[in-house]
Amino acid sequence: MSADVTFRGVDFAFGTAQPVLKDLDFQVGNGEFFVLLGPSGCGKSTALNLIAGFEFPTSGEVLAGGKRIEGAGRDRAVIFQDSDSLYGWLTVLDNIAFPLRVTGAPRPERRERALASVKLVGLHGHEGKYPAELSGGMKQRAQLARALVLDSPILLMDEPFAALDAQTRSILQDELVQLNIHMKKTVLFITHDIGEAILLGDRVGIMRAGPASAIKEFIDVRLPRPRRRGSAEFGELYERIGQSISDEVRRALQREDSLLS
């Protein structure tokens, strides 16, 4: 089954308010790592909610694997920015096995597959802990392990590293790159961090400042992996994307000022 994602002429508004997204059009190819980059409030998380099936477009269509999205589904795993999506009353291992409990897999299989997922993200030794006992980075690892346990072909990541300290963030970014070299998932990754976008993405879509946002520009990142943050090519790309996005950030700030005054 193909695991591509398509947005075709998508508008989205909450009720009768100004539209958050207007005529959003893009496609993520099978096995592609696509990064949606934009200033805060530009509606990038809303785009992710549409593909996840948590929200529905006001007009236009969103497709996964060629099929119109009817709601959330096992073909699309989500990793949230906040680790509050982990279940506080379950241990790390039970959290990771949770999707298999939902699907009704037998207990030994649940354990075996959850342990495999634990190993994949480097959480061994923490299986018996509760989420509240984990650091921020470990919590996001647990979320990733849980998202991987059903082996969904599409991964949707909503600023998963934004709340972490810089060191932990950079370690997790590198680990994600290593992981996806083997997994070859179709990934839609949301971020406002230019460096993160270049480090991770095959392609970056820069969004305009909201409201009525859509993609302003696509940029191919043709650097071999693993990428080095200090390299000259990295710096050039950073500069170029930075210029493109700073106009949007300025517009977003101006809008906030005018709202405040």
């Binding site: 959330a72 589904g73 096992r74 949230f80 506080g88 939902v102 509760y130």
Partner: protein
């Protein structure tokens, strides 16, 4: 985990409680000695003597058992109804819209106001007393449970939906366990209500009970009986609350916020 610092702190606070208790008892003793008619303001010593006397007669145990049994039955029924109502109100918007105004209305209306109605409808037997205790239990538990169900983090439910969870799975795998701590808070408040209401309930022609002990004293000018009843009720309320809290925090530890 028990730490040295905490043990030290614990000892200090126990010493503090003991000192404060001694001071209050002394003050009480002094106050009653200053009363014009000692009969109307029994001292702690005479209250203690009366308690011992009542205990020897066997009456004290009967009264305590009668009250606790009523509380246990009313509280249990109230918990069951309150949790069920709260879950329905938290899960379904229409149920919430339909019931919340009434739950809020009755929550602040004391059981005492229902005594005449309870007497007319249910008579003066056990039914009316238990009904008042159920009444004082249901609404506070329903409200807390409702708040719990509706404050489950959205991401927890969304994540489960990506795993393909059905409505029923969302309920028993997430909403129910995520709400346990809210239910327990509601139950603790309700237990307090029960101890306040039992006295009112036992105004209804009782044969035994702490409320009976307190009210029967009036007709014989035996003020000591009332004081024995007051002290016992207060101590029981405190003990039951501590036991409930300790037992539930141990039994449901994984469901409580850390």
């Amino acid at each position: 985990m028990r730490t040295a610092a905490r043990d030290h702190h614990g000892r200090i606070s126990w010493f503090g409680y003991a000192a404060s208790l001694a001071a209050v008892l002394t003050l009480w003793q002094y106050g009653s000695s200053q009363a014009l008619i000692p009969l109307l303001f029994p001292s702690p010593i005479s209250t203690w003597r009366t308690a011992v006397h009542l205990a020897q007669e066997g009456r004290l145990v009967t009264d305590i058992a009668a009250s606790l049994q009523r509380i246990a039955i009313g509280f249990a029924i109230g918990c069951f109804l309150g949790v069920a109502l709260g879950i329905l109100m938290g899960s379904f918007r229409t149920v919430r819209l339909l019931f919340e105004p009434y739950v809020q209305f009755f929550r602040s209306l004391p059981a005492l106001a229902w005594i005449p109605a309870a007497m007319v409808w249910l008579g003066t037997g056990e039914e009316s007393k238990v009904a008042l205790l159920v009444y004082t239990t249901v609404f506070v538990i329903a409200l807390n449970t409702m708040i719990g169900v509706s404050s489950v983090p959205l991401n927890q439910l969304r994540a489960a939906r990506t795993f393909g969870a059905t409505r029923w799975q969302l309920f028993y795998m997430i909403k129910a366990p995520a709400t346990v701590s809210y239910m327990l808070t509601g139950m603790r408040l309700a237990m307090g209500n029960c101890f306040a209401t039992i006295i009112a309930a036992e105004l209804l022609a009782p044969k035994a009970g702490i409320g009976y002990l307190i009210f029967s004293s009036r007709s014989w000018m035996q003020t000591e009986f009332a004081f024995v009843g007051i002290v016992i009720l207060g101590v029981l309320g405190l003990l039951v609350d501590r036991i409930f809290h300790l037992a539930t925090t141990r039994a449901f530890a994984r469901y409580l916020p850390r």
